[in-house]
Assembly symmetry: C2
Homo-oligomer: 169 residues x 2
């Protein structure tokens, strides 16, 4: 693994994210990863921050609510399409995604949560702020389009404490 | 002005932002600009999103709460240091910053809020979601460090509807 600055690959991250990346969360001895397509990166509270969003209907929501950290692993060049598809359509309640997809949980460097082997770029984050979306403050057409089931996202603002690329990928 | 993709200059934006950029807000015939050092950019709700933070003690807070839009103007190469310093330490309640700093309010292309002349990169945004920071969900050491006066930020999530560079700068 080779350390990079948190913002060295923002162009790539924002290009790739809508096609899917892995959000991995660990609570106790339970680990799960899910496919995310949304997120923002920047600088708040004097720190680099990765913001991710998790719907309260997700298994990951239960885990991340019990945790104080997460990792984001980003596959480059269209890699891991099948794994992203599986992890975006199946729940960790029903499947051990690591086993089903033959995913490698690579130990985190600064956090206790693993990253996903085979991805080029990894972020390790400590949650510093979180807030459930209040639909009263959301544009009504976003509410209708994205939340017909009223399963709103909670936003998790993670301080990026490590960012690195896997030279082997 | 030359259109660019919202993520063409994310490396530059995140490098420059901590040193200051202009957040401009208009409500009715009142226009104000303030210096910001924090923000995130990414992709949420299927759209490119610029998130900015405004403390409730700010004059800009009154304006943005009455508005549905904002612009962010980013000076490159250390330009406009004096103007950023003035606009970051004086309130629009007491000063017409455009007059005091001889700032040029360049009309927005897609929004009714101007951008700041002399800056290289501009974002025009429509607010789609906003939420006041709930200190109960904030890391206590961030709370102590950044909010000793309890003047919490409200987060404004703006859909980026235009992004462009000024080739004359």
């Amino acid at each position: 693994m080779q350390d990079v600055k948190y913002n060295d690959y923002l162009k790539e991250v924002t290009e790739i994210l809508p096609s899917g990346s892995f959000l991995t969360v660990k609570s106790g001895n339970k680990v799960n990863t899910m496919t995310i397509g949304w997120g923002t990166i920047g600088f708040i509270w004097g720190k680099p921050i990765f913001m991710v969003a998790v719907r309260d209907s997700r298994y990951t929501f239960n885990l991340i609510e019990e945790s104080d950290q997460f990792t984001v692993s980003i596959p480059f060049d269209g890699a891991m399409k099948e794994e992203l598809n599986f992890c975006g359509t199946r729940s960790g309640r029903d499947y051990d995604k690591f086993k089903e997809c033959n995913l490698t949980a690579v130990p985190g460097i600064k956090v206790d949560t693993p990253v996903i082997g085979g991805c080029k770029l990894h972020y390790e984050c400590l949650i510093r702020f979180k807030q459930a979306i209040d639909p009263n403050n959301l544009a009504p057409f976003f509410d209708e389009k994205w939340y017909p089931e009223k399963d709103y996202h909670t936003l998790y603002f993670g301080e990026i404490v490590a960012s690195y690329i896997d030279e082997q990928v």
